[in-house]
Amino acid sequence: MSLILIAALPFLGALLPGLMIRSGRTACAWATASVTLTALIGLLVHAPAVMRGEVIQYQLEWMPLLGLNVNFFLDGLGLLFAGLILGIGLLIIIYARFYLSRQDPMGQFYTYLLLFQGAMVGIVLSDNVLLMLIFWELTSLSSFLLIGYWKHLPEGRQGARMALAVTGMGGLALIGGMLILGNIVGSYDLTVILQNKELIQASPLYLPALILILLGCFTKSAQFPFHFWLPHAMAAPTPVSAYLHSATMVKAGLFLMARLWPVLAGTPEWFYIVATTGLITMVLGAVIALFKDDLKALLAFSTVSHLGLITMLLGFGTPFAAVVAVFHIINHATFKAALFMSAGIVDHETHTRDIKRLGGLRHLMPVTFTIVMVAGLSMAGIPLFNGFLSKEMMLDAATDAAWNGNHWLVPALATLGALFSVAYSFRLIVHTFLGPKRDDYPAKPHDPGFGMWAPPALLAVLVVLIGIMPALMVGPLVATASSAVIGGELPYYSLKIWHGVNAALFMSIAAVAGGLVLLALHRPLDAAWIRARRPEAKTIFDAMMRAVTGAANALTDGLHNGAMTRYAAVFTLAVILAGSAAWFGGTNPAPAREALAIGPVPLIGWILLMVATVCMVAFHRNRLLSLVLMGIVGLIVSVAFAYMSAPDLALTQISVEVVTIILLLLALNFLPKQTPVESGSARRFRDGTIAVLGGLAVGGLSLAMLLSDFSQESISAFHLANSKPGGGGTNVVNVILVDFRGFDTFGEIIVLGIAALVIYAMTESVLNSPVGVWLKKRPINPHEAGDRHPLMMVVATRVMMPIALMVGVFIFLRGHNEPGGGFIAGLIVAIALVMQYMASGFDWATARQRYPYHMIIALGVFAAAFTGIGSWFADRPFLTSNYGYFQIPPMGEFELATAMAFDVGVFLCVVGAVMLALESLSRFAHRAGDRPSPYPMDIDPSRDLPQEAKDA
């Protein structure tokens, strides 16, 4: 079977459980198991070849640009691990079928499990470190789901998060390490990396890479000081613990250390970091395990300890130690998985995992007892069981290790670790199964059904078989796997029970003896342990997480506290600072242009503008006054435009100005009329400083700009030259607007149209909310003057509106050749309509409005767009204009330009948008009691006249 298929099968299979769960739990389990079994068979097919020393490869390009490819290879190490993952996985699937209760969503469980399995297989088969990283992180994610599987348990959620945080952190460090590694070698392919030991170890980046990679390994394999997550992950259902924490996930770190052993090991850095960490972890884990009353916690810490042991072996950096490590990986997987499953059985049957509430189960659960005894003795390192073999070899390897020249430290600590290992292993057996039967078990214990005990039993059998016939059982596997780790000649070693009388034997005996003594002394020691104050990893972690989350929250909410004033201040300062830095980093030549003379008229304008501006700031709290002052500023600006040869701008500015003021007045009607004093003087000083800085910067930039010349000729020379011959108009600004840059104008009218739609939509939503109800019900302001629709105003409007419309038509028609155009005309017409609204009121005027403003906007957009599209029929781009002169007899020569049709669109859009906006806004003022006025004016004495007098 192709390697990619082996890796992909669990992922593809992950879809099955969800589908199969409807066919029942057993069918679901079988479907899941068959997936794993298929993959396992596919793997084993390759075993003979791998045993022969071949390396099976599979390559598929994924992201060649990055060097991330779907490259897999299968060597001895991969075979060993993949076999463990799939083999034990198969047993776990069967076991879980019986372990999980009816309430547990089994489909989900198997899905997560297969995802995890796939990720693990992916790690061990990857021939590309980036690919491996993906699988690596996937194990973190899928284990997050598995650990948190019982989501109603807070421990499950917390344990899952903790595991994810710690292993996730390691995984991210690993990314850094792998990238460096790939960087040094120039390839992310593992086979390439593994051939470049010298290059890697000589690189100055070796140490950072090593540290980052080891961070990944240590966190995954629960090495001190990252060991604390593992026990908390025990909140997971036991099949998960058995799988993840005996055979697979925690072994991923070991796998990676083994995988990279050929290129990373052998340096003092490697030795001191890896071996020391392993040693400490081994001893610490064993010590804590002794004092754990929870079966699974005990097993978890024992796992920590054994992982430490294997890490230490890999850390020694010697080929022999590496072989031992591989061997112990196999052994640990077998006995620890069996023990976890048995612990699960005990929990399942007695409804407790507390050793202090157990004891005497030997009689009630003989089968379980047998399994636990076999596996437990193996864990203790008692002869005839496989754990003994690798422990002896470990002690042997430890005697060869010198720590900073000290030859007894490592062996002594290794023995100490072994001693505690013996103690907790025996405690597990003795305190749970031996002793008198009790009558206060939470549930009546008995052995489970075959399906549940068979998987651990099978492992127990393996424990014994390997223990008795190591060479026969696993000799070839150890050899191939080890040679893959070492990447060269295997050292001398032999897998057998009796190695003769050597140092290791004495250390072993001491460990067993000491362990039994410790067990005997357990009660007082336990009391002392409970009394002793020691750092609780979970408390520390929780406190840290709380602190970090709290700090994150404080920082986030503190920075983004919704204070617009601060955001604006930061914005302004950032712009000023960045702009100034850019300016002072460059050079600015002396002024090239001579300043124009200052005439009296502009000087007056300037004085007025400055005074109005200053007053606006000074009196800004009086809102009406500041609005008036703003109107003055606008007026001066538009006159300034007129003065500075921009009549079109003057017209536009002034007409926009009045609509803006009307808009603001409509709004101000509902807003407070005064702005309260809220800023202290320090704050005002700060704001003033920013304002002055900004003013100086902009003023300075303006001056520099005004006194300099274009460095190259401006493109507008073209516009001046082609306005008449190309665009058919003499008002170059208008020709630019409707022709040269008509597309800008198209966007601009759409902006206006959108503005009106937004205003309309918002008005609707406010008026349809409780606010609208409140607005309608609000009492009439007794301070309002009477006379809503004054007679004089109405009459004046009747005359002025037609005149204004006429002016609008005039301005529109002349726009192409003289100042004016659709935009200004639109505003004038809108102003005329507003006048009507102001005179006779909203209801009366709206009732006489024949075309909805929405429609006018849309028609405007259409007119503009279809004028543009029209040019497609002449095979010209959008908005290509054409113009011509036509004779209409009584009126003389007329110019017609398509640009004028475009301008009609502009006109319509402006009228529609302005009116829709104002109309929407004025609807706020409607009160519930308001009657639509039937008359254009409130006072009309002619209504009292007899009918004939009116007709006369």
């Binding site: 309002e784 006379d787 809503r788 105003m793 002025m800 006072i939």
Partner: protein
């Protein structure tokens, strides 16, 4: 301003301009000098209108003298100002009546309903209802 003109033309123009300037200035001065809002209202509505009117006539004459072409634009502005000035004044007077004026000092109208600005919406509604019932 390069056009050549006869002296009398210049004098005529100057008279209009100077008069206009004086009136413009007086109007704005009155705005500051006069004692209460209602009296202040008189100053600009009249003096200023005439001031700007003078300038507009001067401009019309200028273009006629200088270019021989009678411009109507100025006439239009003048017309417009004359049309709007009373409305503006009317509104401002109403505003003054509303905010600053002692209502007792204002003589009552001939009929039984008050000045429009003094009649509340509620009172107007009642009066209108009564009128429509009577009709």
């Amino acid at each position: 301003m390069s056009a050549d003109m006869a002296l009398w033309q210049e004098i005529v123009l100057a008279v209009f301009l100077v008069t206009a300037g004086i009136f413009g200035l007086v109007g704005s001065f009155g705005l500051i000098k006069l004692p209460d809002p209602m009296t202040r209202l008189h100053a600009p509505t009249k003096a200023t209108t005439l001031g700007v009117g003078g300038v507009l006539i001067a401009s019309m004459l200028y273009f006629f003298f200088a270019k021989g072409h009678l411009s109507f634009h100025e006439l239009m502005i003048t017309l417009f100002l004359f049309l709007t000035a009373p409305i503006t004044a009317h509104f401002l007077a109403k505003a003054n009546l509303h905010t600053d004026v002692n209502r007792d000092a204002v003589p009552p109208p001939a009929g039984d309903r008050p000045w429009a600005g003094f009649e509340s919406d509620e009172a107007r509604r009642i009066a209108e209802d009564k009128a429509s019932k009577g009709a």
